[in-house]
């Protein structure tokens, strides 16, 4: 009988169709390359070093991945990390607020921005690319304009002196000692966020709805999926992630540049796409996006370890993106082909 052979194909098929496959292979190749060239890279200190940029990028990439699976983009997410950081530092230094309530205020503002993005997109049916490009530019203007008006410079700083700084710093920007090497606590947050996002996607009703609204919104509505609510929740999740990352950066550096986060929005999208997200929505994975961020972290630091010019990073980025998009296209065609 041919049954056994069919079963084997089934397993292979299921493996191939996992969205994170490309990212896993990519991460292994990139790791093998840099690890073979640099002893520092493969040491525990090296790992802690390249996991650091991977973690903050990863938190954002995972949130953006959920949003992209739901069929939308958010170009304002990068600048929003700056906005939340600026609000936190400004309130804590210029207005003497304790760090914790200042963080709460910036969280409320971030969620409001996410809600606004979501409401405009779902009410008007305009492409989220355009809507969030609008909020991106508006936030960029606000970040610079308000900071200049309040301080006369393009930066706010001095968070270290604010009340509650030590506690908040330990929770969001501290380090954890593992085998004599200090790892950033952001790595823990990143793992937590990735785990939570994966659970939501694979094991909750909301996850089913996210895949559905991104796959075919009209069909999802027809069977009673609350499409608008799902999308608004996704925009607010992205905003929440931006708040988390913005607060981490502010607490870590104790000062925030008014132009921070600009250009990052595309890096998040690229990491999500490398992780297997389709630009057209309805397909992707949170773990994939997290691994996409690891690839970035490794390349970012690996190029420095090898003593190469940092410009090569951009070239690498573009090449990875192209490869990932090609791989995803094959997967989609495979999944959607109709057999008779």
């Amino acid at each position: 009988m041919t049954d056994e052979r069919l079963a084997d194909v089934g397993v292979l098929r299921r493996l191939l169709i996992r969205p994170e496959l490309g990212a896993v292979v990519g991460a292994l190749v990139v790791f093998a390359f840099f690890a073979s060239q640099s002893a520092v890279f493969r040491s525990l200190d090296g790992v802690a070093n390249w996991l650091d940029p991977a973690s903050t990028l990863g938190i954002m990439a995972v949130a953006i991945a959920l949003l992209m699976i739901g069929g939308e983009f958010d170009l304002s997410a990068g600048v929003l990390t700056g906005t939340t950081g600026l609000i936190l530092v400004t309130l804590a230094t210029e207005y003497g607020l304790n760090v914790w309530p200042a963080m709460l205020v910036s969280l409320v503002v971030a969620l409001a921005v996410g809600l606004l993005n979501g409401l405009i997109v779902t009410r008007t049916n305009l492409p989220s690319f355009i809507v969030t490009l609008g909020t991106f530019l508006m936030l960029q203007g606000l970040n610079l304009g308000v900071t200049k008006a309040l301080t006369g410079t393009v930066q706010v700083g001095g968070l270290r002196e604010a009340g509650g700084y030590a506690g908040a710093q330990a929770v969001f920007a501290g380090t954890v000692e593992v085998a004599g090497t200090s790892f950033r606590v952001a790595i823990l947050w990143w793992v937590l966020v990735t785990g939570a996002a994966t659970w939501v996607l694979m094991r909750s009703r909301a996850g089913n709805w996210i895949f559905a609204v991104g796959g075919d919104e009209r069909a999802a509505r027809a069977v009673g999926v609350p499409a608008a609510r799902t999308k608004i929740a996704l925009f607010m999740t992205t905003a929440f992630a931006a708040w988390l990352v913005g607060s981490m950066m502010a607490l870590r550096y104790t000062s925030v540049q008014a132009n921070i986060g600009i250009g990052q929005e595309f890096i998040y999208i690229i990491a999500a796409v490398i992780g297997g997200c389709l630009l057209t929505g309805g397909y992707g994975s949170a773990i994939g996006a997290a691994i996409g961020a690891v690839i970035f972290g490794m390349a970012d630091k690996g190029i420095v370890f090898l003593g190469w010019d940092a410009d090569w990073f951009k070239f690498f980025l573009g090449a990875m993106l192209l490869l990932a998009t090609l791989a995803n296209r094959l997967v989609r065609r495979y999944a959607e082909e109709v057999r008779h």
């Binding site: 098929r13 094991r203 909750s204 089913n208 709805w209 069909a219 027809a222 069977v223 008779h340």
Partner: protein, 255 residues
């Protein structure tokens, strides 16, 4: 009769889309609605499905007159409609699609294990041989997709199944597969409203036949009262067909 219409009618502005149509669906029987494009088939099923409100005549569910307030109302009364486009997400697995919008819960979580098992069982109970409920719906054939949509409606408590042209986009073999599932749903005691413009698909599976032409009924026939030939002739519109034959003949002679 689970579902019945008496002299039902609907107009959109000055257009009379449907006039004086009477039909009925019995449990465990198949009522076929036949008609050419523009005959009023879609208007009729949209009234039955709760999408449109009728203007004249009466709609009865279990013998009692009702006015459906919307598709949800129809569903709550056990009237499920499977449209041509099926409302399924190609990139999602069979079991995820099966429970989409009505996911079983276990605490806060989506009870994935139950969903996967029940989807498989329901499909098998309908005699649908899906190799793997984890495969994306996009990889299924047209007939298989129709079958999954039918099984889904049956599982969620449908007593009346309205099928909108389920065989029109399919090849001969695939259409046969879908007809078999229609018979299977009928055997499980559901009333089926089967909309089609193909009398050869309708006749073998149907118990009653409603013929529509230009928004009006040409009559509702029990299977015993009509032959396949008569049904085909009525469908084609005898007079029109004769006129067409003449026209074609003349064209040939002038060549």
């Amino acid at each position: 009769m689970i579902l019945q219409t008496r002299d039902i009618g609907k107009s959109f502005g000055s257009v009379l889309a449907l006039r004086g149509v009477s039909m009925g669906v019995e449990a465990g029987q198949v009522t076929c609605v036949l008609g050419d494009n523009g005959a009023g088939k879609s208007t009729l099923i949209k009234i039955l499905a709760g999408v449109h409100r009728h203007d004249t005549g009466t709609l009865l569910v279990d013998g009692a007159e009702v006015r459906l307030t919307g598709p949800r109302d129809a569903l709550d009364r056990g009237i499920a409609t499977v449209y041509q486009d099926l409302a399924m997400i190609p990139l999602m697995s069979v079991w995820r699609n099966f429970f989409l919008g009505s996911e079983p819960r276990k605490g806060l979580a989506f009870d994935v294990r139950t969903a996967r098992r029940v989807a498989g069982e329901e499909l098998r109970a309908m005699g649908i041989d899906i190799r793997d409920v984890d495969q994306p719906v996009g990889t299924l054939s047209g007939g298989e997709r129709q079958s999954v949509a039918i099984a889904r409606a049956v599982h969620f408590g449908a007593r009346v199944l309205i099928l909108d042209e389920p065989t029109s986009a399919l090849g001969v073999k695939q259409a046969g597969v879908v007809l078999r599932y229609i018979a299977r749903a009928r055997d499980r005691g559901l009333g089926v409203v089967f909309i089609t413009h193909n009398p050869h698909h309708a006749y073998p599976v149907g118990d009653r036949f409603l013929l529509l032409n230009r928004g009006a009924s040409l009559g509702e026939y029990a299977k015993a009262d009509i032959t396949r030939e008569r049904l085909t002739a009525l469908m084609a519109g005898e007079a029109e067909l004769e006129a067409l034959a003449h026209e074609l003949e003349r064209d040939e002679s002038t060549m």
